[in-house]
């Protein structure tokens, strides 16, 4: 066990080194101030962190985390019910089918008019995107539950509520966390986009501001902060899955 931990630490060190080395080589090859090497970029990142960057990081984190939570609260019950109740599904599925492929990001201008240029419009936009990305996998997972499992539990005297509690919810839980983890990347991309348009705070704003001032090391400090945000959310969700679904890892 300990040996394996060491090995995995070694692999991580290797891949980080590889990444930094590639970055350095690329910046040397391009030889343009718009692509600084890792050293000046990281220096700027830590210097800026003490300045305004940390505040922007918090604002962006808040927006994306709240959006993920709202999407989860809305999509999980909807997906479970759609997957299990055929009548509901027949009614709602066509609607979902039509809305799913629409690029929700085009609604940003509409949302800015309706909800203003503060947090509300950004959170709504991210929620709109993430909601559909996790609704569909949850519905499919709920629908794909082995009917024998449901029948066995029914034969123990379970009512609808018991089926949802003991069978449907735990059956879709891994899918919930996996789809959320995958959607988190999209969530941050949408966040970036929404923060670059008539915004005064957040990492997207910070990044674009640095770009307009042509301070490329600061721009990269913003890129690093954004990547870190994505990495943290991804890792937290992965650990959450291990913690919440222990039967998957025995």
């Amino acid at each position: 066990m300990n040996g394996r931990k060491w090995a995995s630490a070694l692999y991580v060190t290797f891949s980080v080194t590889f990444l930094l080395l590639g970055w350095e080589l690329l910046s040397l090859a391009v030889n343009n101030p718009a692509l600084p090497g890792p050293l000046p970029a990281l220096t700027a990142f830590f210097r800026e962190l003490a300045g305004g960057l940390w505040g922007h990081f918090l604002v962006s984190s808040y927006r994306v985390v709240i959006s993920l939570v709202i999407s989860l609260v809305l999509a999980v019950p909807c997906g479970m019910v759609m997957g299990r109740e055929e009548k509901v599904d027949r009614l709602v599925a066509p609607l979902i089918y039509i809305i799913y492929p629409v690029p929700k990001i085009v609604f940003l201008p509409v949302l800015m008019v309706l909800l203003g240029i503060q947090d509300a419009s950004k959170i709504t936009l991210i929620t709109l995107v993430v909601f559909f990305q996790i609704l569909v996998p949850i519905r499919d997972a709920a629908r794909g539950i082995n009917p024998d499992l449901v029948n066995s539990v029914k034969s123990l005297g379970a009512r609808r509520r018991d089926i949802y509690l003991h069978v449907v919810w735990p059956a879709v839980l891994p899918e919930v966390l996996t789809s959320l983890r995958i959607a988190s990347g999209t969530a941050i991309a949408v966040l970036f986009f929404s923060e670059t348009i008539s915004s005064q705070e957040g990492l997207g704003y910070y990044l674009l501001d640095a770009w307009s001032r042509a301070v490329y090391t600061e721009m990269f400090a913003g890129i690093i902060a954004m990547s870190l945000l994505g990495f943290i959310i991804y890792t937290v969700l992965e650990h959450l899955e291990r913690w919440a679904c222990p039967w998957k890892y025995v």
Partner: protein, 266 residues
């Protein structure tokens, strides 16, 4: 078995059909049989003869059928508390440990924590799995999973136990061991057991009454009485083997046997 023939299960003129792509496909036609209280009954027949469907009807899970089905004298309903059903893959929830799987029926009935603990401990000890209570089903062998399924059913103290091909996915040694264990449990508790099987030997070893079904749609071919079930060493007697041959002849017509179709009755 009581002399005046008190019946646990009574089925008369049962017909079931499935809707598949707007076509009505018959699964069972005009099936009649009965099972006395406290006895065992084996349903045997080829794949697709509606054996499992019959169990679903008896358990109350399937409600669209015609005919008369009485369990303990009353028309079957889904909420009959004393009926326990064990399906082919045992229906264990992968996300619950052995203890919680066995406690599930009691959970649903809202039993208190203490009562639950006492009952679960008792049945898990009965099937010899108390030490495994903290494991997930994926960490168990096939036989242990089957015993967990049996324990979950026993925890509800049923008077009617329905089993769908309970031992079909186990290796031969485990199967024999579990068949004996099932008999022991039955002899101790004297509940009624109805089990579906495709193994002739299993039907004879476990079923005091053996109901032979023909293929799609399922009809009753014959009903064979087999009173020596539970006697020590029954499997080794000449009578056991004679009955095996008799059932095989009834279930597998001669010409099929020549073409090699008898293989799956072994």
């Amino acid at each position: 078995m009581s002399a005046n023939g008190e019946l646990m299960v009574r089925v008369r003129g049962l017909s079931v059909s499935y809707q598949q792509q707007n076509k009505e496909i018959p699964a069972l036609r005009d099936v009649s049989f009965s099972v006395p209280k406290g006895s065992t009954c084996a349903l045997i027949g080829p794949s697709g003869c509606g054996k499992s469907t019959l169990l679903y009807v008896l358990s109350g899970l399937l409600r669209s059928w015609s005919g008369e089905v009485l369990v303990d004298g009353a028309p079957v309903t889904s909420c009959r508390r004393q009926t326990a059903l064990i399906l082919q893959d045992y229906g264990l929830l992968p996300w619950k440990k052995v203890y919680d799987n066995v406690a599930l029926g009691l959970d649903i009935r809202g039993e208190s924590r203490e009562k639950k603990y006492i009952k679960v401990k008792r049945v898990l000890n009965e099937v010899g799995l108390w030490e495994m209570r903290q494991r997930y089903p994926s960490q168990l062998s096939g036989g242990q999973r089957q015993r967990t399924g049996i324990a979950r059913a026993l925890a509800l103290e049923p008077d009617l136990l329905l089993m769908d091909e309970p031992f079909s996915s186990l290796d031969a040694l485990t199967r024999e061991k579990l068949q004996r264990q099932l008999l022991e449990i039955w002899q101790e508790k004297r509940m009624t057991v109805v089990l579906v099987t495709h193994s002739i030997e299993e039907a004879i070893f476990l079923g005091q009454r053996i109901i032979l079904l023909s293929g799609s749609p399922g009809r009753v071919l014959d009903i064979v009485e087999n009173p020596r079930v539970g006697e020590a060493g029954y499997r080794k007697t000449a009578e056991f083997h004679a009955l095996t041959t008799k059932l095989r002849e009834k279930l597998v017509p001669e010409r099929v046997e020549i073409s090699g179709g008898a293989g799956r009755w072994k």
